[in-house]
């Protein structure tokens, strides 16, 4: 794919022009919290803050959304599509981190063929994502080890990397190339020096965080499956509160529940996040629960991220963003759990 350069001072101009045509969403800080919000002025963007608290997937798979509405009149029941969001032109989402973008590439597999999920696909097709290369890393970042996030940028349409007063624009998709065409007056061909400098920045970050993961990705699915009966699941889940923070704020978690909200004459069928960390997640109508304790639920979370995902979709689900680590109120650290569980587990031939 192509690469361009943009003068750093022209970025605001580019955003303003994009905002004239479509909604622009970017990280905004308020209440001591950074979240994606719709912006109208580039000055609202917080480029300095850490990654957004609610990951990028929240814009593609919102915490809740109506699937259809129903209405009963006499004996007639009518179904209708939900009102579409007023963003038919597609949003431009700027300031996403590479880990969150890579998670979308994973979700594309889960929500793509053969059972394409219409609302998710629609947003993915019409929205544009401009990712940015991180300027600093945090101790909970382990993206490169988890999913080769820095060496294989993916899931976004553009990747911006700041090199002094220039921005390298790496085009990652055809949609991204069309976007570049519409800003051809601001962009020029990137020289090899800029490309090299941007690559070096990512290599340097990958090097600095290489020890953050505490586990090796080599043969991890098999090693984790071999740890099925490890006592670690129990010992590490004992302090788990059973809340949904680790999964609801995970950029690659995908589980949802479908419910109805109905009055006498009609209502809507909606979906909302659900999580394997809740006891109710696997509870059946009979009362039986195949994952009766938090121990099985922790094992499921870890195996889904690092083993089941590889088997089903050919990719690790965890992108190493670290949210589940630093947001856990009781300090459960998925890296530590993987390290401990696989320490003595020998893969079964």
């Amino acid at each position: 794919m192509k690469a361009y350069q943009l003068r750093a001072e022209d970025l605001a101009k580019l955003i303003l022009r994009a905002a004239a045509e479509r909604e622009v969403w970017a990280p905004v800080r308020r209440n001591d919290l950074t979240l994606f919000e719709r912006i109208t002025d580039p000055a609202q963007i917080d480029w300095e803050a850490d990654n957004v608290r609610v990951p990028l997937r929240g814009l593609f798979l919102p915490v809740q959304e109506a699937l259809f509405t129903f209405r009963k009149e006499g004996a007639e029941v009518t179904l209708a599509a939900p009102q579409d969001e007023p963003t038919l032109a597609g949003r431009l989402i700027i300031g996403a981190r590479l880990c969150d973008a890579a998670a979308l590439e994973y979700l594309d597999r889960a929500f793509g063929d053969p059972l394409a999920d219409a609302p998710y696909r629609r947003r993915r097709e019409r929205d544009l994502i401009v990712a940015v290369t991180c300027e600093k890393e945090r101790p909970y970042c382990f993206c490169e080890v988890a999913s080769e996030v820095l060496s294989r940028p993916r899931g976004a349409d553009w990747l911006l990397t700041r090199v002094e007063d220039r921005l390298l624009v790496e085009v990652l998709s055809e949609k991204g190339e069309r976007l570049a065409q519409s800003f051809s007056d601001l962009l020029s061909e990137a020289d090899s020096q800029l490309l090299e400098a941007a690559r070096a920045i990512r290599v340097a970050i990958a090097g600095r965080i290489s020890n953050n993961a505490r586990f090796s990705p080599e043969g991890l699915p098999a090693r984790l499956m071999a740890a099925w009966d490890s006592p670690v699941w129990q010992s590490e889940s004992e302090r788990c509160l059973g809340c949904g923070i680790c999964t609801f704020l995970c950029p690659s978690c995908q589980c949802f529940d479908i419910c109805d909200r109905a009055g006498i004459l009609g209502g809507e069928r909606y979906r909302c996040y659900d999580t394997c960390q809740f006891a109710s997640f696997t509870k059946m109508a009979s009362g039986e629960n195949p994952r009766p304790t938090q121990s099985e639920r922790l094992r499921n979370r870890v195996l889904h991220k690092f083993a089941y995902s590889n088997e089903r979709f050919g990719a690790t689900a965890c992108v190493g963003c670290g949210r589940c680590v630093y947001l856990c109120p009781v300090g459960i650290d998925i890296r530590e759990v993987v390290e401990m569980a696989t320490k003595e587990a020998v893969p079964v031939e």
């Binding site: 608290r53 915490v63 509160l241 809340c243 949904g244 923070i245 704020l249 909200r261 996040y273 300090g331």
Partner: protein, 325 residues
């Protein structure tokens, strides 16, 4: 004089070795975390990891219902209240439960520490209080900050710094850092606002709620076997996180806990909220209403009845309005 950490390890090991406790629930430090995390120690070796410092914020009574008959818990004065509250409500039995009380120097707020130390907070390995200073051990050395700048809000109005009714006490008593309630001005402003303004204030916050239920799961008083929110037949509150239903969910929790006088103002619900909803403004308002109307504070007396479980004709009916003649 051995440190609080040395004392807690020694006490825990003695309890485990003698068989008086099968498990000691306490705190441990883990790299990368500003706050200490809960530890279930079952052997004297595991108990070596126990520690105490102003990062021991979690109210361990969240785990009270899952403890075995013979257990011990490391507690601050405020945590004792939560445990006693559960004893009052007959959720746990005091027999067999040993409290290792800690003369608390005040605990830190992770948010305040991160605001002041920035990324350096990631390298924190220990924190201690000396006089009116909190001293943080970081990768690049020690950093001293005024304790008043980093203490958790609730510590400024603490009246139970020295735990009461505990079998063992560790740590030296230290003069508390007191000030006006840091929440006071915000509460005053909110109470003076019109209902519409208050509605708008909370709407902005509850729009962010993702219904992870961390507030409910961490709450020591939220101990129902089945929460009304999880009930599916019928569905009392839709599961979808809409602003309206998020607020409804929290209103129900607020009525059931602080509204019934069962809140000890531990502030855990606000601490764990991943989207920073200022829940203590709600718990405090209702907690203070109960103090004002019933002169009652939960968790101070294991025999005391909880106000909403008692019928008393002398109860205030001020909130009911004056009956028409």
């Amino acid at each position: 004089m051995p440190s609080a950490t040395e004392q807690v390890v020694e006490q825990a090991q003695a309890l485990l070795s003698s068989g008086q406790a099968e498990v000691v629930l306490g705190y441990q430090r883990a790299p990368g975390f500003v706050l200490a995390r809960p530890l279930f120690a079952r052997t004297p070796e595991q108990a070596e990891r126990l520690m105490l410092d102003p990062g021991c914020v979690a109210d361990l009574s969240s785990y009270a219902l899952q403890l075995p008959q013979k257990a011990a818990a490391v507690v601050k004065g405020c945590d004792v209240r939560s445990f006693v509250g559960l004893i009052q409500e007959k959720q746990i039995k005091p027999e067999g439960l040993t409290f290792i009380g800690w003369n608390c120097p005040g605990v830190v707020s992770e948010r305040k520490v991160r605001q002041r130390l920035g990324d350096r907070a990631d390298t924190l390995t220990a924190v201690r209080r000396e006089g009116d200073q909190m001293i943080f051990t970081l990768a690049d050395g020690e950093q001293s900050l005024p304790a008043a700048d980093v203490l958790a809000d609730r510590c400024f109005i603490c009246k139970v710094q020295q735990p009461q009714g505990v079998q063992v006490v560790v740590g030296e008593p230290i003069t508390p850092i007191t000030s006006d309630d840091p929440l006071g001005s915000e509460l005053q402003r909110l109470h003076a606002a019109s209902p519409d303004e208050r509605r708008a204030f909370w709407a902005e916050h509850f729009e962010r709620c993702i219904r992870c239920y961390a507030c409910r799961e961490v709450c020591p008083a939220c101990c129902c076997r089945e929460c009304i929110i999880d009930c599916t037949r019928p569905v009392w509150v839709p599961r979808a996180p809409t602003e309206q239903d998020n607020f409804l969910f929290q209103q129900i929790r607020m009525l059931h806990v602080p509204g019934y006088g069962r809140c000890t103002d531990c502030g855990e619900c606000e601490r764990v909220c991943p989207v920073n909803i200022p829940l203590r403004l709600l718990t405090r308002t209702l907690h203070d209403d109960i103090v004002r109307l019933y002169n009652y504070r939960h968790g101070l007396d294991s025999e005391a009845p909880v106000p909403m479980t008692v019928y008393d004709t002398a109860d205030s009916e001020a909130h009911m309005g004056r009956p028409k003649k």
